[in-house]
């Protein structure tokens, strides 16, 4: 029983990181119907900014987190303006190829800066609690609480604010949104900034939880988070969160109760079965025909 609770905690930790990354995919897809395949590498940059903050700059926790988030937000906007905006009316596949290219550029720029894996020192003198055979570190608690906080904040932003209204409107019909006076370019850039900031936060938390980082770390994690977004229903904010937690849970539970070499095999077989049953994802809906 204690073992199960322990695994649930681990699943929540991993799941919240997947969920944060998945949000970036889903937001960009929602507003542009484009998969930003560079997003996993933005996550990686967030982890390296955490490393820089912890070593070179010697920043405490909160400023270091803000550095990762704002750094990635700026990076997201620059990528959108330079690489994606000129392709907004080009065929989708051009934008997707460009995104893959941007990802490679980020990986290899980081490789120049850091050709070998780095160890991220603890930013947080983590306390550990033992409750009935379950071990909870304060870092683990912090990762879960902070992620959930960011998700609640984002959900509020998308559902309750004028910016969120504009994001949802643009995702339905960009031209009509412009006709209604919405500054479409600015809102799209802001959406990229928010998605990238969440990716940066995920990279930061990931670097603290799993403190060996390298320039290719974003590839696999990014793919997994992308799949999480699709399982939840890509374009749907709550779906991305749900998908992230489901993926985290499946991965941890398979490794905990089955031979761990089969982890990814079984985890993804399960997720694909889910997609066969719900092709638009758990919370995604086929978009009704416009009248």
């Amino acid at each position: 029983m204690a073992y199960l609770f322990q695994q649930i905690l681990n699943a929540l930790q991993l799941g919240s990181i997947y969920a944060l990354i998945a949000l970036g995919y889903t937001m960009v897809y929602g507003i542009m119907t484009m998969i930003n395949f560079a997003h996993g590498d933005i996550f990686m940059v967030g982890a390296f900014l955490c490393f820089v903050a912890a070593t070179v700059l010697g920043l405490p926790f909160i400023p270091a987190l803000l550095l990762s988030m704002t750094g990635c937000a700026l990076l997201g906007v620059v990528i959108e303006r330079l690489a994606y905006k000129p392709l907004r009316n080009a065929p989708r596949v051009s934008a997707v190829i460009t995104a893959l290219g941007v990802g490679l550029v980020l990986e290899h720029l980081t490789l120049v800066f850091s050709p070998y894996p780095r160890h991220v020192p603890a930013l947080w003198s983590s306390a550990t609690w033992h409750v009935g055979g379950v071990t909870l570190s304060s870092l683990q608690a912090l990762i879960i609480v902070l992620s959930v906080l960011l998700m609640v904040l984002l959900d509020w932003l998308v559902r309750r604010t004028m910016l969120g209204l504009a994001i949802r409107a643009i995702s339905w019909d960009r031209t009509v949104a412009a006709i209604m006076g919405v500054p479409v370019d600015a809102v799209i850039s802001l959406t990229f900034a928010i998605g990238a900031a969440l990716g940066g936060a995920a990279g930061f938390l990931y670097a603290l939880a799993y403190p060996v980082i390298d320039p290719y770390m974003g590839v696999i994690v990014g793919w997994k988070a992308f799949i999480a977004a699709v399982v939840g229903g890509i374009g749907n904010v709550r779906g991305a969160m749900l998908g992230g937690f489901i993926l985290g849970a499946v991965e941890i539970m398979v490794a905990a109760f089955l031979p761990s070499t089969y982890r990814d095999l079984i985890a993804f077989a399960l997720l694909f079965t889910l997609l066969i049953l719900k092709p638009y994802g758990l919370l995604g809906q086929p978009r009704p025909q416009k009248v």
Binding site: M162, L165, A166, R168, A169, S171, W172, D173, T175, V176, A177, A178, I179, M180, G181, V182, P183, V184, P288, K290, V291
Partner: protein, 265 residues
């Protein structure tokens, strides 16, 4: 016909001795004309959909732009709203707006009821209306306006929490008009407000449009339903394959044999 129009505006142009800020207020002719379009051209690749048209809307007037499918009516409205590249000049209240972005154009006071209504199906009725107030900072006045449009369209008030995509065609058209009103526009551009609606609904929509006009908003109305549009318009222009081929008062055009034959059946 277009030549006459252009001469008139040239005269208006010579009045500009005052400071540029007051120009539109002091220049008599300029303040009379709320929208002036000069030599507008819109291209889609090799096809020129609008081939150099000029027209104007006077303050407080309803102007109809009628013509068959593909005559360039929608392209004209989209160009005015700033969502389509074009060449030519567009003046709103005497000020050039053809270099402004669509958001700035809405802020100046031009709103559009787009073709096919353009309702955001994923937003509620109330959210559709709120979106149109993006440029406004007067939150209290927005609340008053919301109450006002719900008075004007009680059906929308009943459905304010419903998603736009669940409304009927007539309700969507009302929402599209209400949404344009929420921008506090001085000029409404209406793209085929009668499209796909039953005759009774069309009459109701036109009655509402006339009420809106009576309350002081100028209207530029694009219609295939030429008779209905020309009936309520003080002036009309007939568009054919990107050219203005006829111009006159709404009554003149509605009675013109050629218009009757071509558009009124």
């Amino acid at each position: 016909m277009t030549e006459n129009r252009r001469q008139m505006t040239d005269k208006a142009g010579t009045v500009k001795t005052e400071s540029p800020i007051n120009k539109s207020v002091n220049g008599m002719n300029a303040s009379d004309i709320i929208l002036e379009v000069r030599d507008l051209r819109v291209r889609y690749g090799h096809i020129e959909a609008v081939q150099g048209i000029s027209f104007e809307v006077r303050t407080g007037e309803i102007v109809a732009l009628v013509g068959a499918n593909g005559a360039g009516k929608s392209s004209t409205l989209r160009a005015i709203s700033g969502v389509l590249p074009f060449s030519g000049e567009i003046l709103f209240e005497g000020q050039p707006i053809h270099r402004l972005g669509s958001a700035a154009i809405v802020a100046r006071g031009i709103a559009q009821v787009p073709e096919g209504r353009g309702i955001f199906g994923n937003l509620t009725v109330q959210e559709n209306l709120k979106l149109a107030t993006w440029n406004r900072r007067d939150r209290r006045a927005v609340k008053d306006d919301l109450r006002h449009v719900f008075d004007l369209f009680p059906r929308l008030a009943e459905r304010r929490q419903q998603l736009g995509g669940t409304l009927s065609g007539g309700e969507q058209q009302m929402l599209a008009i209400a949404r344009a009103l929420m921008t506090r526009a001085k000029l409404l551009l209406l793209d085929e407000p009668s499209m796909g609606l039953a005759p009774m609904l069309v009459r109701e929509i036109f009655r509402i449009l006339q009420d809106i006009n009576q309350a002081g908003t100028s209207l530029l109305l694009v219609e295939q339903n030429a008779l209905m549009a020309l009936k309520v318009a003080s002036h009309g222009y007939v568009l054919e394959t990107g050219h203005i081929v006829m111009h006159g008062t709404g009554r003149e055009l509605a009675d013109h044999p050629r218009v009757k034959e071509a558009y009124l059946g």
